[in-house]
Symmetry: C2
Subunit: 127 residues, 2 copies
Amino acid sequence: METMGRHVIAELWQCDFDKLNDMDFIEKTFVDAALKSGAEVREVAFHKFAPQGVSGVVIISESHLTIHSFPEHGYASVDVYTCGDMDPTIAADYIALALGSQSSEVKELQRGMGPVGAGKTKVTVTA
Amino acid sequence: METMGRHVIAELWQCDFDKLNDMDFIEKTFVDAALKSGAEVREVAFHKFAPQGVSGVVIISESHLTIHSFPEHGYASVDVYTCGDMDPTIAADYIALALGSQSSEVKELQRGMGPVGAGKTKVTVTA
């Protein structure tokens, strides 16, 4: 199996309060996002916090999707990490639209490219 | 609840093959890593792939820890995302040691800092 992966970090702001606080809606949205991307869903785990907020993950054969929502700030912190030929932006865009995000930042990281990477990284080699 | 979080991306290379392929060991390691960091564990979901490899997540009150292991490449792709006063490097270092990683890259991202960030990000504002 290829180690190379694409990891989308999506900071979604100005989302809909009620959607960010609806665990069932978020879980369905994330499973749908995975399936629309062509992913195979393996494990689903979501948690509702009191008084508000939802955290959860969909483990797919091709890596994962996660969310932490902060309804009181209109903010959702979303990760979509895929490997193979999958495009993580399909799921990230679907999620942003579903949550009603009006302002977002999306950053994409390359994962699994080699033992020592370039750029702003801390490298530790112990042997 | 504060949106601000620290997200450690840890690319762990030259890990121990057997440990990377042992789901029970990885699950225990990740729960222990969360607890050693002072996190509160909320959900745990791990999956073993055939012929090899493990994916999994520990959802904590303070965000999440995830892994995708590729035993055949000696590689584990690990994320430790925390909010509040927690230090994600405690868990990341514990995991790297437990998996016998001999070479690693660790990058830390700031999450939840504001609606529009600086640096190499794609910004979309739809309203």
